[in-house]
């Protein structure tokens, strides 16, 4: 049997996820029905993954312990940049199967995989989302709005009170009142 179960799980979970997203879009996110459908679909994904694992074991394919946590792999698949998905998930799978699992057992290896998945996602989030957000939104806002506002409001009061921050803040609060 060719090793394509991971791809199968991935394809089926993707299908199920798209179905869930479409239902949410059609019915509305606040609907309780949508939540129920989502929960059922997630349950379906779990069951499907389990069935595929069982099929793989009975078909004499790769041993079951080669399979890393399906949800973690799917989580990585959803969150990593497209170009990095294949190599990073593959490398994690290989490290999981060859180094971590034989040494630490399935439970710790699963935890290790989840930890690595979250680490990878947080690193990419920092690089691709948080850092550009700070650079493009927070920094210009700070430079163009917050700093001038501070300059116009706090600085004159601070000068009047001979750089005494306590008096300056008190006067500023009194003015605001």
């Amino acid at each position: 049997m060719e090793w394509n179960s991971a791809v199968d799980v991935e394809a089926s979970t993707r299908r199920l996820f798209v179905a869930w997203a479409c239902t949410t879009f059609l019915i509305g996110p606040s609907s309780a029905y949508t939540l129920c459908v989502g929960a059922l679909l997630l349950l379906g994904i779990r069951l499907e993954a389990k069935v595929l694992r069982m099929e793989l074991i009975t078909a004499g394919g790769a041993p079951a312990q080669f399979l890393p946590p399906t949800f973690a792999a799917f989580f990585l698949y959803l969150t990593l940049p497209r170009r990095q998905q294949e190599p990073i998930i593959g490398d994690l799978n290989e490290d999981f199967a060859t180094n971590v699992l034989p040494r630490f057992g399935p439970l710790l290896a699963g935890i290790w995989y989840w930890y690595k998945a979250l680490l990878c996602v947080s690193m990419y989030a920092c690089e691709n989302a948080i850092e550009p957000l700070i650079r493009r939104v927070v920094e210009p806002l700070w430079r163009c709005a917050v700093l001038p506002l501070l300059k116009w409001t706090v600085a004159p009061v601070l000068v009047i009170h001979k750089l005494n921050w306590g008096d300056a803040v008190r006067t500023f609060i009194d003015k605001l009142r």
């Binding site: 090793w3 080669f66 890393p68 190599p87 593959g90 490398d91 990878c120 690193m123 990419y124």
Partner: protein
């Protein structure tokens, strides 16, 4: 020399690891080589740096075959290009030149 024309410390390390990996240098093997050298780097750091090196034209990559142990996922195999080798040589030369300043540093 423009800022992007020379290799940073991390880029240099990763290029050396790619060189060490030969024809089968991919993320995990590069990580292992670096770990053996006492540097613990996570896969996203390695792949981001490799992507930057690829943009500079110092390394090239291709998709390798998928193996069962990788869960059917393909490897991205990296190879050092001529420009990358030149950048490594430049970095080595600069280090050697700076190394000559060490005694002067000791005297002051």
């Amino acid at each position: 020399m423009a800022k992007g024309d020379y290799a940073g410390a991390l880029e240099e390390l990763i290029m050396l690891a790619v060189l060490k990996g030969g024809d089968d240098a991919y993320g995990l093997s590069i990580q292992k080589s670096l770990r053996d050298a006492g540097r613990r780097l996570e896969l996203p750091t390695i792949y981001t740096t490799l992507e930057r090196l690829e943009e500079k034209g110092w390394v090239s990559s291709r998709l390798g075959g998928a193996t069962p142990v990788r869960g059917g996922r393909a490897k991205r195999i990296f190879r050092l290009e001529g420009a990358g080798t030149r950048a490594l040589r430049d970095a080595e030369g600069a280090r050697r030149q700076l190394g000559a300043l060490k005694p002067a540093l000791g005297r002051s």
